[in-house]
Amino acid sequence: MKRITFNNPTAQKIYDDYFKRVRRCVSILPESDQLEMIMELNSHIYEATQGAAPANEVEVLVNTIENLGMPEEVLAPAVADKKVKQATRSFNPKHIFQALYLNIFNGVGYVLFALVYLLIISFGFLILFKLIYPAHTGFFTGSGHVFFFGFMAEIPVGVKEQLGNWFFITDITLMAVLYFLNTLLFRLLKGK
């Protein structure tokens, strides 16, 4: 992207500082999306300030930037939207987490998505717990009404772990099913 050059050094500094903020706001996005958003704002600023006399450059530039709004506020919805698209395309957990973080306040759907994701992570931890505390982790039943899947610090009398090493397969299968369902939910939310 071609940088705009101003005759007035103060204007140049304001411009450079503004684009530092813009770059920080969009840095979470893929490079092509970053470039697109930066180029669009750069073009707007160029069109608004071209032809301004050096004595007025600062005033014109400050007005233009003010009219555009704070990049942190104005760009946030677009960045969140583009991040969701990237996450849906890539299925990469890192991108999904970032999209989730950016969209967490967008509605109950995303909160539900976050909770299920947390559940998936918890199931991951259960595998570690099963390796460290095999007798206390698993699927417990007993006394006719006790059903518990997870880690039990103190096992009540009459309650027994039923799965043994099958726990690993069951746990991984549950994680996979929840991950699949959550991705479907994510796609539904994205399509809203």
Binding site: K2, E40, L41, E47, V74, P77, A78
Partner: protein, 117 residues
């Protein structure tokens, strides 16, 4: 006998901001129906024809959303200055969308005018 009417300005302001939000896409489509515009030019056109005070930065995310929806097409065109302009035009789907929006707007306008009589 005198009546003192206190307008609830906060309510009116909130209502106007919702109206603005809802009509901005419609205004953009009407403007783009004439010819193609680049971002800054489009902002100026909105300012010329309406009294809406639009935060200019919010216009670009909106244009991008319209592009994602397939309502507008966009292309970068190189300029002598070395700083390209992104031109927006109404797509074929956009033209059909605008026709439908015009119908809805017209029906709404008629209904409100009837109610206001």
């Amino acid at each position: 006998m005198y009546y003192i009417c206190a307008m609830n300005s906060e309510f009116v302001q909130n209502w106007f901001s919702q109206v603005k939000k809802g009509t901005l896409s419609y205004i953009i489509l009407i403007i783009l129906d004439e010819k193609e515009y680049y971002g800054y030019e489009l902002v100026q056109e909105i300012k010329t024809h309406t009294t809406l005070e639009v935060a200019e930065g919010t216009l670009y995310p909106l244009l991008n959303r319209l592009k994602t929806e397939g309502i507008v097409d966009a292309k970068w065109i190189e300029q002598e200055s070395g700083i390209p302009r992104k031109y927006y035009t109404l797509s074929k789907d956009g033209k059909a969308t605008l026709t439908e929006m015009k119908k809805i707007w017209s029906a709404l306008e008629t209904a409100i005018q009837k109610l206001q009589k």
